[in-house]
Symmetry: C2
Subunit: 133 residues, 2 copies
């Protein structure tokens, strides 16, 4: 598997209305997109930083993955997403190396990317996403 | 403050001897440096990914910051480091905006960089480092 760059870093926040002013006003970044991803029960806000993005994630449902994450661990970094050429080929390759997958095949994520998650128990505690255009 | 890119992502691991083979063998990255940072009580391993680095952090002392982090939260993403032009000027600027600092002035970190940390309570749960050459 060839990872070209970190596609984005997913950060769980309680409120985009609170978080976007912090990222813009204090860190000097510019939010270029806000998007709801209904099947993940989140509203996302994106910022470009070098060749990487920051994806802020606000839960739209306490029972969704980000709602549960914040309840258990509080706000903070949620996942790391690596850019690969082909998500299905990469998922197959890491599975052959013994890594447990959350997604056995790719699905559509935010910004229309193909995405797939590896299980954090198999990745030394880092919830890891692979993604490609 | 102008952030040019994400300088690195710090990830707490129990053992570099376990983690380096995962990042190299499964994710296909190449460790280019292992360095001990005595005053932080860590041994670090670095990987370049696009314009960002991954910094794995193994504690050399259970009472050090990474030892305590792993005891409380387990292995996982520990901090996010943004590249700025001048760390002291950036620390002063964010303090003026009401952000609580861990480091009031810059100090030396891994790879000889000037670094300074903001407090995660003031940064929506993300332990945030600013760094510059």
């Amino acid at each position: 598997m060839k990872i070209s760059h970190i596609e984005h870093i997913g950060i769980a926040v309680k409120s985009l209305d609170e978080a976007i002013p912090y990222y813009e006003g204090v860190l000097g970044m510019k939010c270029y997109s806000v998007e709801e991803v209904a099947d993940q029960k989140v509203k996302t806000a994106f910022f470009k930083v070098g060749d990487t993005k920051i994806e802020l994630l606000e839960s739209t449902d306490p029972e969704g993955p980000i709602g549960k994450f914040i309840e258990k661990k509080g706000q903070g970094i949620h996942h790391l997403a690596f850019a690969v050429d082909n998500v299905d080929a990469a998922l197959e390759e890491v599975a052959e190396k013994g890594v447990t997958l959350i997604d056995k095949t790719s699905r559509k994520g935010a910004e229309g990317l193909n995405i797939g998650f590896l299980h954090p128990k198999a990745t030394l505690g880092v919830l890891t996403e692979l993604c490609a255009e």
